[in-house]
């Protein structure tokens, strides 16, 4: 479904990604783990067109998408909940969700999907006319995920959904990820919380200083002594 082939990305003179290759197949949950600054967010930002690759190719459903404008990729079925959530603090919860469905026309279906988002995260329903800036960090993360789903994506990119959240909220977020996956949406998950990420995914890539250093089924990686030492703290 999504394929990165030898993709390199620069921030000015600094190389942030060095020839990374990876793929995500239909229906999979793939996770990208790695330390701070390894290039995880850069990878997602490049896939969504917020950054331009310097070299390499990115294809989505067989078509080259590298360097295409972000709004066109959303139209093709890619959606992202960005790092730091990126909710519109000046808009209400409902307006945030409405923006998630910006490209869709069918009002009935949009209302239906909004109800789904509220079912998945009842906390949002309670706060639907509140400004998103007044929500707690966990609620903002729920909103960011709910909003990303409003475009009915075929590929959902989640950037650090558990960052800075209380353990109980992290649990809620990962339950939601399982639920989204259960409905057949393909997910590429970037996480620092390697333990949770490996537990909720099919396959994983390990990123270190802009290079993919390991890859494989998540349960194999979770059992790998190098991963255990470096990322799981065992």
């Amino acid at each position: 479904m999504l394929k990165l082939d030898n993709v390199s990305v620069n921030y000015g003179a600094i190389e942030a990604l060095t020839g990374i290759s990876m793929h995500v197949e239909q229906g999979e949950v793939v996770t990208l783990i790695g330390a701070n600054g390894a290039g995880k967010t850069t990878t997602l930002r490049t896939i969504t067109g917020l950054l331009q690759p310097r070299a390499g190719s990115i294809t989505f459903e067989g078509e080259e998408i590298g360097g295409k404008p972000t709004h066109k990729l959303v139209a093709r079925g890619i959606s992202m909940s960005p790092e730091g959530r990126g909710v519109f603090a000046n808009l209400s919860v409902r307006e945030n969700l409405r923006m998630g469905a910006y490209l869709r026309k069918n009002k009935g279906e949009i209302a239906e999907d909004m109800d789904h988002a509220f079912q998945m995260f009842p906390r949002l329903k309670e706060r639907e006319s509140q400004k998103a800036g007044t929500l707690s960090g966990g609620e903002q993360q729920m909103l960011a995920i709910g909003r990303a789903l409003m475009s009915r994506p075929r590929l959902l990119l989640l950037d650090e959904p558990s960052l800075g959240l209380a353990p109980l909220v992290v649990h809620t977020i990962f339950e939601a990820i399982d639920e989204i996956r259960g409905k057949g949406t393909t997910i590429l998950l970037v996480e620092q919380n390697a333990h949770a990420a490996l537990g909720h995914s099919d396959r994983a890539y390990v990123l270190e200083t802009g290079r993919i250093v390991m890859e494989g089924p998540s349960k194999d990686l979770a059992a790998d002594p190098r991963i255990k030492e470096a990322y799981l703290g065992e």
Binding site: T48, G49, L50, P69, T70, H71, V74, A75, S79, M80, P82, G84, G86, V87, F88, A89, N90, L91, E95, R98, M99, G100, Y102, L103, G133, L135, S136, G137, Q140, R147, A148, S151, G164
Partner: protein
């Protein structure tokens, strides 16, 4: 008391014009963090388009409400196109560079428009055809309101209500607010942010052009440099209200207008000569920057981490 009411009416009249222009400054700033110094010149362009439309379409011969409507809407449309063209060709190519670059470009665009008009049309003021049969109505006592003042209030209030509706009730308006808060997040929603930015310039420019045509009915003298001082005062109005804040721009515009007429009307009583009428806006600017840099209604929204 009568003079006070009269001063207030006069102040609100020019204040409404400042407000219309200030809205464009504040919307563009809200979305791009750019002070569009060419915006005052759009107000002038609007007045000139109105002037030529009136003559070309044969409305210049006498008062005509239809003519006024056509001239007003025509100049708003033309100014919207000019605003979009400025954004497309002057600001968009350099959007990713440092703010100083765009700021200097804005000043350059402003000088370009002014001098282009002076070169083509001359700097001498022209008499704008009166499309409204001027008449004065006595309110109470000796305070009076003229037809052109009523026109300014009616049109500016209508436009402000319309703008409020666009920004807060429509999808494109919600997208404008989304873009102004977080450009990249807006892109991730599938919003074509270039279109929204273009649309914002169109809206702001149309409002400024309406201000230009309305002013020309109230004070029928137009010249290619009329946008400089008025534009600067409207900018001060936007800062006073809190730049980026839409109701703030309206409040700031009205306050600057009132302050200005009060300096003319009452300044002498407290030793302020009437020649300070243009200076008062900038005195207010200095005070705002010293004591409340965010403006009257502006506030800093903090993002939760």
């Amino acid at each position: 008391m009568d003079t006070f009411v009269q001063q207030l009416i006069n102040g609100l009249t020019i204040g409404a014009i400042y407000a219309l222009i200030a809205l464009g400054y504040t919307m563009v700033y809200g979305i791009l963090r750019l002070i569009n110094f060419a915006h005052g010149d759009i107000y002038m362009v609007g007045a000139f388009v109105g002037y030529f439309l009136a003559f070309q379409l044969g409305f210049a011969t006498g008062p005509s409400l239809v003519g006024l409507g056509v001239v007003l809407i025509g100049s708003m449309i033309a100014a919207a196109l000019v605003g979009m063209a400025i954004e497309r060709f002057a600001y968009r190519p350099i959007r990713k560079y440092a703010r100083m670059t765009t700021l200097i470009t804005a000043i350059g665009v402003s000088l370009l428009i002014e001098n282009l008009f002076v070169a083509r049309l001359g700097a001498a003021p022209r008499a704008f055809p009166q499309l409204l049969r001027e008449q004065s109505y006595t309110l109470f006592g000796n305070a009076a309101i003229s037809k052109s003042q009523i026109l300014i209030f009616a049109v500016s209030v209508a436009l402000m209500i319309l703008l409020q509706w666009v920004i807060f009730k429509t999808k494109v308006g919600t997208a404008m607010r989304a873009v102004s808060f977080n450009l990249n997040s807006a892109k991730l929603m599938g919003i074509n942010t270039d279109f929204i930015i273009s649309f914002t310039f169109a809206l702001g420019s149309a409002l400024a052009a309406a201000g230009g045509v309305l002013t020309a009915q109230y004070n029928p003298q137009i010249d290619p440099l009329m946008g400089i001082i008025t534009g600067l005062k409207a900018f001060v109005a936007a800062v006073l209200g809190g730049i980026g804040n839409v109701p703030g721009a309206v409040l700031g515009g009205l306050l600057i207008g009132i302050a200005e007429t009060f300096v003319v009307g009452y300044g002498q009583n407290v030793g302020v000569p009437t020649t300070f009428r243009d200076a008062v806006a900038f005195a207010i600017l200095i005070l705002v920057l010293l004591f409340r840099p965010t403006g009257l209604l502006g506030s800093t929204v903090r993002e939760k981490v």
